[in-house]
Every structure is written in C-alpha cells, then in structure tokens.
Symmetry: none
Subunit: 153 residues, 2 copies
C-alpha cells in the first residue's frame, strides 16, 4: 500500500482520537511536523473527517488560533447523518417541525429545546422573501444537527 501523506496524517489524527472524544490541533504545527503546507491539513480534515463520517470541526483564526476536532457518538450519528440529508434541500415549516419532533422522540433534544427550535424555524422568525425562506430553514436545521453532533459540553 503506497500511502499518501494525507493518509498518514489521517492515521495520526485518528489515533489521537483514540483516547479522547475531541482533540485540539494547531494547523501550522501539524503541517510542520509532516513537512507539508498548512492547507494540506485542511484537505485531510475536509476529505476524511467529515460530518458524514461522524466528525465535527470547529476552529478559530488569528493569534493563538486552533482547530478542534470532535468525534460523534455512534448511536446518534446514524440518525443525525440521515437527518442531514433531509436538510440538503429547502424545507417547509411542516418538514422542519417533523424533524424536530423526531429529534425529541429520540431524546436528542428535550421539550424546551424543541419549542425553541420550532419558534426559530417558524414563518415569523424567517420573515423574508418567500423563495429563500425554506433554504434558510434547512440551513438552520443543518447547523443544529451539526451542533448536536458535538458530544462535548
């Protein structure tokens, strides 16, 4: 197996995640360590540690910036993955409400949270040109799912 540097970096990051549910990386340091350009790290992250594979990435730029990588819990991850597909297209209020109800049923959120979400994706909250309304709604739900995927507190 003639593996690429990307594979090696993937492996390295993967094993760092063995012990912890999340790790914090320095893009520049990692790049230096593997003698590659920094954007290669982004490439690895974007191609290997995707939401669909159960990972969530957060980061901050600027002085003492960082990249935080979180692994999702497996049981929830499937449901969330499927839900994500739901959010690939614009959603009506009805569809969004159903998704929220599903999340509630699966105990991924509680009642209070469900109510919050419902009011947020309501027509009132997204009061603006109708044609992009549903798009924003699915964008919001996608972000919610990503947020719920982070299993740290």
């Amino acid at each position: 197996m003639n593996r690429s540097i990307s594979d090696v970096i993937e492996q390295f990051i993967m094993s760092s995640l063995d012990d912890n549910d999340f790790i914090e990386l320095s893009r520049n340091d990692l790049a230096k360590f593997f003698s590659c350009v920094p954007s290669q790290i982004n490439y690895v992250l974007n191609t290997r540690f995707t939401i669909n594979r159960g990972f969530v990435i957060e980061s901050q730029r600027g002085g003492s910036g960082y990249i935080k990588l979180t692994r999702m819990h497996d049981n929830d991850s499937n449901f969330l993955k499927n839900s994500l597909e739901c959010c690939a297209k614009p959603m009506t209020v009805l569809e969004a409400n159903q998704l929220i109800q599903n999340m509630l049923d699966k105990k991924l959120i509680n009642e209070r949270e469900a109510n919050l979400l419902k009011c947020i994706i309501s027509a009132k909250a997204l009061n603006n040109p109708i044609n992009i309304d549903n798009t924003i709604r699915s964008n919001i739900m996608r972000q919610v799912i990503i947020e719920l995927s982070k299993n740290d507190k």
Copy 2:
C-alpha cells in the same frame, strides 16, 4: 480554555467578579502582572466585558486613575424587555452572540441551549443575501425571547 493571553486576563477578571458585583482595576498594574502592554487590557475589556454581555465600565484617567467594572443585575423580565429592544434592529453575529452569552450568564438558558442558538444565528446558518441577513438574525432572536418569556416565573 485559555488559549491566548487575552483569554487568561479575561478569566482572571471574571473570577475577581465572582465574589463582588464590581471591582476596581489598575490598568497599568494588571498589564505589568500579565507582562503585556496596557492597551491589551483595553482590548480584553472591549471584546469581553461589553454592555451586551452585561458589564459596565467606568474609568478615570490621570493621577490615581482607575477602571471600575460592574456586572449588571436586573431581573429577568426587565432583561428580556431590554433584549427585545436590541432585536428591533438588524443584528450582527457578534451582537447576537453577546446577547446569547448574556442570557447564559443570567441563567435564562443553559450552555447547551446557548450553543444551539449561537450556531443558528451564525453566518453559515443564515447563508443568504447579506443585506437581509442581519434582519433575519434579529427576527430569530426576537422569537427566542418571546418563547423564553412564556415560561417565565
């Protein structure tokens, strides 16, 4: 997580506020203590201890000058009412985040809820024509506040 010197200073000031409702700082002494330039203290104050997060800063220059930092206390309904006014105008991500942080500080929402809200009002979630972006954001926050007011004690 204390990533930057600014974060460390923020923490320090924050914990000084644990016991008292207000504290008096000496900009120069603080700067000396943390081995940074005095204006760094201003930076921390301006980015972390903002009005939107419920802090008030008073200061005096010149001989025996000082910086007085006060944490605002007002009851929940007052707070919600004021927050509503905040949402009368379009809001930037930063403004919304500070409002959410403030709600968290006041225990009107918990950390999980705060994170949910933050991701919802993020640029990513509201990914659409910039000029109406901020308007949607304030609409959303308004609905959230209204929702939170429902189960008010």
